[in-house]
Symmetry: C2
Amino acid sequence: MTIDLTAASITEAVQRTFEGTEDGRAKELFVRLVQHLHDFTREVRLTGEEWFKAMDFLERAGKTCTPTRQEFVLLSDILGLSVLVDLIHHPGGGSVTDSTLLGPFYVEGRPTAENGSDISGEVAGTPLFFNGRVLDPDGTPVAGAKVDTWHSDGEGFYDVQMQDKLHGQLAMRALLTTDDEGRFWYRSVAPRYYPVPTDGPCGEILSAANRSPMRPEHLHFWLHAEGFEPLITMLVRSDDPYVERDAVFGVRRSLVVDFVQHDAGETAPDGTPMDESFQTAERTFVLAHQER
Amino acid sequence: MTIDLTAASITEAVQRTFEGTEDGRAKELFVRLVQHLHDFTREVRLTGEEWFKAMDFLERAGKTCTPTRQEFVLLSDILGLSVLVDLIHHPGGGSVTDSTLLGPFYVEGRPTAENGSDISGEVAGTPLFFNGRVLDPDGTPVAGAKVDTWHSDGEGFYDVQMQDKLHGQLAMRALLTTDDEGRFWYRSVAPRYYPVPTDGPCGEILSAANRSPMRPEHLHFWLHAEGFEPLITMLVRSDDPYVERDAVFGVRRSLVVDFVQHDAGETAPDGTPMDESFQTAERTFVLAHQER
C-alpha cells in the first residue's frame, strides 16, 4: 500500500518495498539508507530547487569519472566517508600500524623492484632514501612481505597524471619484498603536497565552503604477507604545512614521520657518497595476524 | 585540526571544514548531509567492499544519464525522495488540489491546442475524452489558466520514447487554456500502465528487492494561472491494477479518478456520435492563491 502517504508515513512505505530483498545485508542497507535519506530531507526541508541541483550535481559527477579519475571516491574523500569506513573497521591505537585511505593513485600493474633500487624512473628531484621494516606484533621480522609503495613527484603530481611527459611509463612506484630481517629499502625523489582535483563537481563544494584542497606530503604503502592482515597505510611528513588540515582527513598522528634533510657531501644510508642534498625517512610497520 | 580522528570524532571535524561556507543555507545542507551520511555509515558498519560497490553504482548511474533520461531522478523516485520533497512543501488535504511528482516525460516545447482538439497526434488507441475545470478555493472559475497535459499511449510509451515511430513529432501532449467558465477539454487516446526504465543501475535495485517497476495508468497536468501557485499533479485511473503499488509512490487518494468505459453507438461528451467504444474522465482542479 503506497497510497495516501504523508511526509511522515512515506519512509515506512518505501522501506516495506524492500521486504522482498533476498540478500539480508542488502535489505538492511536499503532500509537504513532510506531512513537516513528521508530524515535528512525532512530535517532540512529540502526544496524542489535544491533537489534538482543535487540531481544535476550527481549526474555531472558521474560523467566526470574516467578509468583514472573517480569523482565519487573524491566526493566520499572530502566528506570524510572514505576514512570513516576505514576507522570503523580499523580503529587503531593498538600495537599494529594504523591504516588509512588508499587514495585514487594506486596502480595494479606497477613494476617490481629490488631492495636498494632507484624507483624514481625518469623523474628529477631531491633524492629520498626510505628504509622500512616489517614486524609481527611480537617484534619478529616478517620476511618475504610484499610492499607496494607509491608517491608524487616534487611538484605534487603522480606518474598517472603526467603520462605524456613520462611517455606512458610508471614512476615513483614499485612492489618490493622484505628480506630475512623484514627490511625493505629504496631510493626515489621527495614527494610534495598537492591539491585534490578541483576541476570537477567536487571542486564546487570545496570552493563554496572556502576549503583548502591540499593534501600534505606523503608516501603510500600497501603491505601483504602470508598469515597477516593486509595493511593500507600512508606516512605523512611531519613538517608539512598541511599536516593538520588534510583535505581528505587521512592523517593519523601515528603515521606522521620526520623526513630528515641532509647536506651535499654526506653519505646516504646505502653508502652512496652524495654530491647533492638529500632526504631520508624510515619506519617500522607492524602487521596484525590474520583472523582465522 | 583534522588529525587523530576516530569513527566518532570525524563527523564534527568534517562539519567544521564547512564553517567558511558563505551561503548559510548551503552550509546547513552540507553539515546535516555529513551528519546523516556518517550516521548511516556507522550504523550499518559499511565495509570497504560495500563502499566500493556504492561508488561504482553512482558512477554507472551518472553515465546512464542523457538529455532524455535522468537516472538519478529515477533513483530518487524509487527511494521515495522525489515525492517526499513534494509532500514536505505540499502536505495536501486542504481545499486545493494535491500535487505530486512531475516525472521525467514533461517536454517544454509541447504544442498548444484549442479546447476540443484531438491531441493524440498520429497515435492509434481507444479514444479518451477528458473534461477539466479550474477553480479558485472559493469556487470561482479561473479563466485563461494554462494547462499542460501529457500521457502515455495504450502500450505505456510516451512520445519521447518512440521518436522513430513518430518521425520526431510530439503526441499525446498539449498546452490548453481554460475558457471563461474555467473549463478545458480535449480528445486523446487512453494511456496504459508502464514500467519505469529498468535497463540501468536502478533496475538492479528493483531486481535485488523483487520490486515491481510498474506505474499505474495516469494523466499528467501542470497548471499555471496569474495570481495562483503553479500546480504539478497527476490523475490516476481508479481500476488500474497498480494503483496501490506505484513504483515511485506518486499516487494520492485524492488524485484517483474513474475512467468511464462507453460502448460503440454512444455519443461523446463533445457531441460526436462514436462508432467505436471510448472512455471519458473529468476532474475539477482547485488552485491556491499565490502567497504575497
